[in-house]
Symmetry: C2
């Protein structure tokens, strides 16, 4: 790759700007083709007879707080978590996470003396770059966020152990252990083991284990994540974990099923509050998922179809990066699953790339969104979401993005 | 009606006990025939094409926090509330109420200085007999409950004005203004006007206006409820009201659509927190309702069908009470809609009736459930739910209930 001059890059950039494009790389949403994969699920329940669950429960009526048995069975098989630990909810695992933090704030945890809200300043650890909506929950709750670096095998465990095991104000940590948002990093066995073996200074410390991409491989090879509950059991630490998953990126983002897993102690403490909150979640939609997939293999086969659609999109972006940004960008991730690529540009360049892209009609995720308080300390990270645009839009937007990175870096070198 | 002797009543009671019946008058749930009315809604969305909302929004995907425009239009027309004041949610208005109280606890209200949770002891007024799940929210939150009597035209407004206008610790009141649970009482125009004209001592006082039975008449005659927002506007009091409704007893209790209405100020304050809680509620289910009903007249026609099923059940119970309990019970309500009848027996007899019924295989709602802290101060009220059992079960259970009331009263008179 010969290095183009700043003036040549500027000339190319001006050409793009003239075209009046409107492209978008911000949205971590399944695309049209992916939504069409679950088309048949929409019609799978069409009469009252389809609504009857085991033991005579009518899914149309009130009742059944923690999910229908068939849904527990399906997700137990899929996630390898005992049915007795599962709580099946509404359409959003984010909602479940917010509600879980909210319960801790107002009512405390199993075995805690006081609700979080009555303990003055409390803190969460935030491996970053991370998921902006996790950070938004902390922000809403007034919980102080502490940034922890994340690397290919998981977050900086030395720092985490140091905080969690010594500071009783540290009450939680956000984890996306598999295909982490936005890096795509997966937690190594050692990382999971060190999480399982934490000795928190706070009796009401909890790990928010958001396994959002539990089965979201884009290649045939399965990426194994160690079972956090099994590991935690060895240390008597099962109560540390609040586990979340959902079908938002399996069936429909707006009408999926959210899943939570927790120890017996934790469920016993939280379910009475859930019972004050609602009589039950949408059981017809739970049944819709069960009837459509039948079993875990049904879900796994379905995920192969998603992979078939998503894989070429990731590859198109990564190939463009390899071709254009080798030696220019700091690095980019090459995830084996999930929904995002983290493009890391030389320090101090990310905002400039964002602005340049905007000028040429390519919308990027706000720089800093993947850090607590919206502050990327090195002005370095760009979150790229390849699933939603049309394929042609995606390749075009990526081409312009690459040019903008080169231009920003060249400006900086010459500036 | 000749008065039977205690020994004769005891003999009759023993006969019932021998039969080993298992009947249930506790459940305020629609019955099988009612669920069947919405059968066609289940299949009304069967392809992705059915999921497109105005302006290109795809209901299957993420987005649209406060409800699809079509749902806002439908419920605006039905409830007579401007679309701009509506927020359409998930499957449960109870969940919306819990979340609303929860937000007040953690984040405060529009214009408030401190969240409720940071103000020490706070109180709610609870018109009673009332809805047990309202009281359960207060109990979970540690909010002190103050019982206020309710009468045919609404709760004791003198007492309410006295509390609300003088005690800044009073932060809220639970209201079911139409076909109040369990009495079936409807708020008179004067009651609504006095609510609208409150001058709360607390700047963060709110009226929780749970219009659960907004269109749930069982006779052709419409029971008019004055528009609380219109009245409140006259006093600049629109911010006082959090309004709730749902389709749980229109379509499916487990898979309906919950509706909230609030002033512009209140929505502006709360929606950012809702946005931290979820990306959006189940829009496909919102669209399912819209496509099935088409417009408000569609819903109204549907409610006539519910009325046709429910009316004879209310009448069967009330006729049995008239025939058997005149001069025996204190009184009973004869609602023109809703889901419950309040049977009031002589003081100190309700628990005895409950126990006698249990002995004869008839399950009644726990005495006291309709009062804060589960304490009926006069041991007087029995909540009767006529919709769920088969019609034969209902008439049989009512016959036994009447006998048990007569027996309890006779025991007391002779005891």
């Amino acid at each position: 790759m010969s290095k183009e001059s700043l003036s040549e890059l500027r000339r190319q950039y001006e050409e793009w700007c003239k075209k009046g494009l409107s492209l978008d790389l911000t949205r971590g949403k399944p695309g049209r083709e992916q939504l069409a994969l679950s088309e048949e699920m929409l019609g799978v329940i069409s009469s009252g007879d389809d609504c009857h669950s085991e033991g005579g429960l009518d899914c149309r009526n009130y009742g059944c707080l923690d999910g229908i048995p068939e849904a527990k069975k399906l997700f137990s098989e899929l996630l390898g978590i005992p049915e007795s630990m599962l709580f099946i909810g509404g359409n959003s695992s984010l909602n479940m996470m917010f509600d879980t933090v909210s319960r801790c704030m107002l009512f405390g945890t199993a075995g805690s003396e006081k609700p979080w809200a009555q303990q003055g300043k409390i803190k969460f650890l935030c491996p970053s770059p991370g998921y902006d909506r996790h950070f938004a929950i902390c922000k809403a709750m007034g919980i102080e966020m502490i940034t922890v670096d994340i690397n290919p095998g998981g977050p900086d465990m030395d720092m985490i152990e140091d905080y969690v095991n010594n500071d009783p104000a540290v009450k939680g940590i956000w984890c996306v252990p598999k295909f982490s948002n936005p890096s795509g990093y997966c937690y190594s066995d050692e990382t999971v083991r060190r999480f399982a073996a934490l000795k928190p200074a706070a009796p009401d410390f909890r790990i928010f284990w958001d396994n959002a991409y539990a089965i979201h491989e884009i290649y045939d090879e399965e990426v194994k994540l160690l079972d956090i509950f099994e590991e935690a059991k060895k240390y008597g630490n099962e109560d540390l974990i609040f586990y979340f998953a959902s079908t938002s990126k399996i069936t429909f983002p707006g009408s999926g099923v959210a899943i939570m897993a927790a120890s017996e102690n934790n469920l016993r403490q939280m379910l009475p509050y859930v019972s004050a909150q609602t009589i039950g979640y949408d059981k017809i939609n739970q049944m819709r998922h069960v009837k459509y997939f039948k079993n875990a293999d049904g879900v796994r086969a379905h995920m192969k179809e998603h992979a078939r659609i998503i894989r070429p999109r990731f590859e198109a972006v990564i190939n463009a990066f390899r071709e254009n940004l080798t030696g220019v960008a700091r690095r980019w991730t090459e995830p084996k699953g999930g929904y995002f690529i983290d493009l890391s540009v030389p320090d101090g360049c990310a905002k400039r790339v964002f602005d340049l892209c905007a000028g040429a009609g390519v919308k990027l995720t706000t720089v800093g969104a993947v850090y607590p308080y919206g502050l990327d300390p090195n002005d370095r990270h760009l979150r790229i979401a390849p699933t939603y645009p049309d394929f042609e839009e995606l390749t075009l937007a990526t081409e312009i993005l690459c040019l903008c990175v080169k231009l920003a870096v060249a400006e900086r070198e010459e500036g």
